[in-house]
């Protein structure tokens, strides 16, 4: 059973549009949700994260919306740029369980100029 699910598997947007990447989870004990960005040939890099006590987190063009009741969150990338083309992973972890992130399968984003 996959504990963290992401959709869509792949997404294509035009430069300047807002890309919306979705994530849902099964385990109510998850309280920390980081999003990682991965370019080909590189390791994942932390992009933005949110704790379950918040419903929104912004960092520049990147915003996480979090709905604890529905166990859903989404990453919005505003004014998408070709350089944002990458795979994005939603992850989750439980309190006191250090470093053991449960990752979704990722969304491959392609931004066309």
């Amino acid at each position: 059973q996959q504990q963290v699910r992401q959709s869509p598997q792949s997404l294509t947007v035009w430069e300047g549009e807002t890309a919306i990447l979705n994530c849902s989870y099964e385990n109510s004990a998850f309280d920390y949700f980081p999003w990682y960005q991965q370019f080909p040939g590189e390791g994942p890099a932390l992009l933005i994260s949110i704790l379950s006590v918040s419903d929104k987190k912004e960092d520049g063009r990147f915003t996480i919306f979090f709905n604890k009741r529905e166990k859903k969150l989404s990453l919005h990338i505003a004014d998408s740029q070709p350089g944002d083309s990458a795979t994005y992973f939603c992850a989750a972890s439980r309190p006191q369980v250090v470093g053991q992130l449960t990752f979704g399968r990722g969304t491959r984003l392609q931004v066309y100029a």
């Binding site: 920390y32 390791g43 994260s49 992973f89 972890s93 250090v98 470093g99 053991q100």
Partner: protein, 114 residues
């Protein structure tokens, strides 16, 4: 700051051979993690060290896989008698002890078992 350094970047082994993967964490980071990434399974947690001590190896296959951290500047992941299903990208990550869920990943070692 060079980030987490993993060597080699690519390793090809024959079935049944041993593979040793190396990781140098970011200086000052006292937590080190190993993950495995495959197309089929995605990113999977393998094991975790804090201050060089093994803390959690719940993701490690019980046979053939072992990890060590002999000093604060490097960790190794050893796979004995490699099998084709071990082919994957093995990722090492490190973090500060007071921010242990903020992981900084290396570029990974791509292991191909023929």
């Amino acid at each position: 700051n060079a980030g987490v350094i993993q060597t080699p970047r690519h390793k090809v082994t024959g079935k049944g051979q041993e593979a040793t993967l190396w990781c140098e964490p970011i200086s000052g980071h006292s937590a080190v993690f190993w993950y495995r990434q495959t197309i089929v399974q995605g990113l999977e947690f393998l094991t975790y060290f804090r201050n060089q001590a093994p803390i959690d190896d719940s993701g490690m296959p019980k046979e053939r896989f072992s990890a060590q951290m002999p000093n604060q500047s490097h960790s190794t992941l050893k796979i004995q008698s490699t099998q084709p299903q071990d082919s994957a990208v093995y990722l090492c990550a490190s973090s500060l002890v007071w921010s242990q869920n903020t992981l900084y990943f290396g570029a990974g070692t791509r292991l191909s078992v023929l």
